[in-house]
């Protein structure tokens, strides 16, 4: 009996020990639970950099920044578009200036050459070169007005014989009318033009101020020249004035040289 009591006491103590350990373990678990809850609360209060929902204020600030950047991006895109348009304008303007530069060079060279000599034949040769090389005409004639007879007669031709060009009375036909009026004549359609020596495709009066001394008559353009360019009209205007002056000056000079030579001959005769 005593033996059974001792065994029961021993087992009761063992059970109590186990129960105490279980109680301690439970208390430890509850403390850990409490600590973790506290930690969780702390973490919930602190904004995390990697995850979780950012505060509303930060969201608003970032949204505003995005909107600003979007606006800035749009502004830059607009500016790029504007610069591209300006570039196109500049490129077009550059080509225009390049053309104008070339045209001015043509006009300068024509003018320079026209006034580079006082020899009548050379002046006619230079006018011929300008018409061939700068305007691109293949058949043409330069007619000068004889003020005594009021007739226009060819003094230089290209592509046609001089004899083929008729003598024209002032006021008669296209050539005569151009010489009388001092107005340029252009046919409306170069392609449809049929050669007629009395009615050229282009007829330009050679004028010193309003005084017409002759005309330039063009009958045919070079095969590769399909139509007149704007610079051609400028060249015609230049020819009308400068060629007339050059022809007039060279004729005066030639006449004075001839007279001087005649006078010198007389003086030589008288003094010998």
């Amino acid at each position: 009996m005593q033996k059974d009591d001792d065994r029961l006491t021993s087992r009761g103590e063992e059970f109590l020990q186990v129960f105490k350990k279980g109680a301690e373990f439970t208390q430890d678990l509850m403390r850990e639970n409490e600590r973790l809850r506290y930690r969780l609360l702390e973490l919930e209060k602190t904004p995390s950099p990697g995850g979780g929902d950012p505060p509303a204020q930060e969201v608003r600030r970032l949204s505003e920044r995005i909107a600003d950047l979007e606006a800035e991006k749009q502004e830059i895109l607009d500016r790029i578009r504007q610069v591209e348009e300006e570039n196109h304008d500049f490129a077009a303007r550059y080509l225009e200036i390049e053309d104008e530069n070339n045209n001015l060079a043509n006009l300068y060279i024509a003018s320079y050459q026209l006034h580079s000599t006082l020899d009548f034949c050379e002046v006619l040769q230079i006018i011929t070169e300008i018409i061939i090389n700068l305007i691109g005409a293949e058949e043409f004639a330069i007619l000068l007005l004889d003020e005594k007879s009021d007739e226009l007669q060819a003094v230089a031709t290209e592509g046609v014989e001089r004899e083929q060009i008729p003598v024209v009375r002032l006021g008669k036909g296209v050539i005569g009318q151009v010489a009388q009026s001092g107005e340029n004549h252009f046919v409306s359609d170069v392609d449809d033009y049929q050669r007629d020596f009395l009615s050229p495709m282009v007829c330009i009066p050679l004028k010193i101020k309003e005084h017409v001394i002759g005309v330039l008559a063009i009958y045919k353009l070079l095969v590769q020249k399909k139509e007149f360019a704007p610079v051609d009209y400028e060249l015609f205007t230049l020819l009308a004035g400068h060629a007339a002056t050059a022809i007039f000056s060279s004729r005066l000079y030639s006449d004075s040289e001839r007279k001087l030579s005649t006078i010198q001959g007389f003086i030589d005769l008288l003094t010998k």
Partner: protein
């Protein structure tokens, strides 16, 4: 010291001036002018040239003869030649090219065209 020596063979002073005006836009270009083919050959023998531009219709010696002589001379055969003429017909172009011309420009002259062709043959970008 010039970078490019260019010879213009042309009997018309107006044309020479116009071609020279166009070519002077090339940086470092030096231009020598000749009145006809014979004058051109004389100038060729005096110095080195990088390009020749020649008219076809000229007195004394025409441009086609000049092209032929240049192409058959070991000293000059590699110089690029551009032929300038009033003739726009295909047969004239072919004749000049057959004789050895590198390119062909027809009148009326456009300075931009001369510049474009010259730059191409001088290998200027």
């Amino acid at each position: 010291m010039s970078e490019y020596n260019v010879l213009i063979v042309e009997d018309s002073p107006t044309m020479r001036q116009l071609i020279a005006f166009a070519l002077k836009r090339i940086r470092g270009v030096r231009i020598v002018e000749a009145n006809d083919g014979v004058d051109g050959l004389k100038k060729l023998s005096a110095e080195r040239f990088d390009l020749i531009l020649t008219d076809i219709n000229m007195p004394i010696m025409d441009g086609l003869k000049l092209v032929s002589l240049v192409r058959n001379d070991a000293n000059y055969k590699n110089i690029p030649i551009v032929v300038i003429t009033t003739e726009g017909a295909q047969e004239d172009r072919e004749r000049a090219l057959t004789l050895g011309a590198n390119d062909y420009i027809t009148k009326p002259i456009q300075p931009t065209k001369i510049l474009e062709v010259a730059k191409g043959l001088l290998r200027i970008v």
